[in-house]
Symmetry: C2
Amino acid sequence: MGSTSTTTVPTNADLMEALAAVGAAYFQDFAAAAARHGLSSSQAKALGSVQEPVPMRALAGRLGCDASNVTGIVDRLETLGLANREAAAGDRRVKIVVITDEGREILNRIRGEMARTHQAFEAMTDEQRIALHSICGQVLPVLAGRAGGAQ
Amino acid sequence: MGSTSTTTVPTNADLMEALAAVGAAYFQDFAAAAARHGLSSSQAKALGSVQEPVPMRALAGRLGCDASNVTGIVDRLETLGLANREAAAGDRRVKIVVITDEGREILNRIRGEMARTHQAFEAMTDEQRIALHSICGQVLPVLAGRAGGAQ
DNA sequence: GCTCAAAGCTTGAGTTGCTGAAGCACTCGG
DNA sequence: CCGAGTGCTTCAGCAACTCAAGCTTTGAGC
């Protein structure tokens, strides 16, 4: 396979490998920061997905898992005092997950403590930051299967 | 196309969000492809980490989890006929995990079936591919904690 | 050669993540 | 008001994960 050369266009396999490695490393940094605050990565991910109030069912969609699974995760967040269930106005079947102030604080602290991630970003030039952000923005809708639709 | 003179440099938070979204989407594509072949994402990830024979302990390091956990994962891979344990020459405590031909075939098929990922990559220009690959290569050592040496 | 500390793997107990099926509570169209 | 459909929870069951404990092997010191 290709060696690192400025004129070599990476193959799909090259890109997959690179993206997988970066994604895995990012995730481990995230999980480690969450663990320092007593949260599993799933709980932390859920917490990050409820910065805006979200119904249980929609949360399951965001997390890409079954609705019954979300019940347990939110149970634990609620026990820890990081989120609450609130009844939805207008449809009493629906329960809306709302992050608490404490939850928001923990979330911000976790994000701030992702030392490796911040270190990696700091080392990037403005051009690289712009390029990476642009590429992610372009690639995400396809990767997430939302091509042609708005979020 | 988009880039005008208004060069907005994304903040760390912007990049974190973008990277997290792309990483999560990639992982879901991966997990879905693996599931189609009866593998959990952990099993598939392990399978991808033993393309070269690896001792159990080293595999645990690569997967970022406890050694005792790897026992169970490799148990299942072995049951499925996708990998084998072999005794290490020179140290009979060590067991080396070796992928089987069937395991290699399944792994290749999984990677080939990550449709969204391939789709996303196909839509990239040569410049973007080079930029993304280069950025990943630069960022990975820092993100994975293998940078500089002061740690 | 023996002993003992340490290393590599497995086992067991216990929690969490996750799914599918079943059930309850509620909404909405007829 | 009734029945179908929706949203959430509960339950059973497996996989992933961790920690502590246990077994075998290794290697260093005696």
